[in-house]
């Protein structure tokens, strides 16, 4: 298991291209959450799966250098806080907690629907980072135990 980090060359080459496509698709899904099926949760999972793809193809050591796990933790908690901040801002400007206080724009435009889009982005970030951290932690758990033995 240990002698070869990650999978074969073919997988690695394909992954190198496909990761960005997957991530782009995730971002598309998040940004169009108010127009088409999908939204923050679906897009967030797609982004997490893109990271997961890299981890499975290249191995855990690679991803440690490629991504700053600390930063993922911080994005995870700060995006959760941003959701709350949108709520509090709604209280200040919209008269009620989580009120949709930004202008709604025109229906069917990409930038429209006020806080719905903002919240979709926030949720996407939160879900993407958070779920990847879970898989990362589970993977690291086995690594830790193996080193101990």
């Amino acid at each position: 298991m240990k002698q070869q980090a990650g999978m074969t060359l073919i997988v690695k080459t394909v992954t190198r291209i496909s990761v960005w496509l997957i991530m782009l698709y995730g971002i598309y899904i998040i940004l169009h959450g108010h127009l088409s099926p999908g939204g923050g949760f679906a897009g967030g999972v797609i982004i997490a799966l893109a990271f997961l793809n890299v981890m499975l193809a290249f191995g855990r050591d690679f991803i440690k250098n490629w991504l700053n796990i600390e930063m993922l933790h911080d994005i995870d908690s700060s995006s959760a806080m941003m959701f709350l901040a949108v709520g509090i801002l709604g209280m200040a400007f919209g008269g009620s907690f989580l009120a949709n206080f930004i202008s709604h724009g025109t229906l069917f435009n990409l930038v429209s629907s006020g806080t719905i889009q903002v919240l979709n982005i926030v949720i996407g970030l939160k879900v993407g980072m958070g779920l990847f951290i879970v898989v990362w932690a589970l993977a690291l758990f086995h690594l830790d135990r193996k080193e101990m033995k």
């Binding site: 127009l35 949760f41 229906l107 589970l138 135990r145």
Partner: protein
Amino acid sequence: MTVYLLCFTLFLIGLYGIITKRDLVRIIISSGIMGYAVNLMIVLFGYKNGSIYPIFVKNMPISPQAMVDPLPQALVLTSIVIELGTTAMLVALAVRLFEKYQTFDITKIRRLSG
């Protein structure tokens, strides 16, 4: 009616699994089955014959009367996310239990009794 009952059967299979299985992984799987059944049941309650998804599309006038109920879908979205959280947490616990006891068998994991 038949659909409801089949869905309920799925739920009961999950319940059966949780009660009788002696293996942590099977228990986690059973709780997942129960979750599927409930999610599906809630969406079934919101389906309206001959209607389409509750999303408006540009240049395609659809009457709101011809749409399915959006609220159960919103509820189930929440419930799916919660399900994933439960699964992650149960898996983490099961892995730690395996590390401590070297087994997935719940009959052998019995430090607490009474």
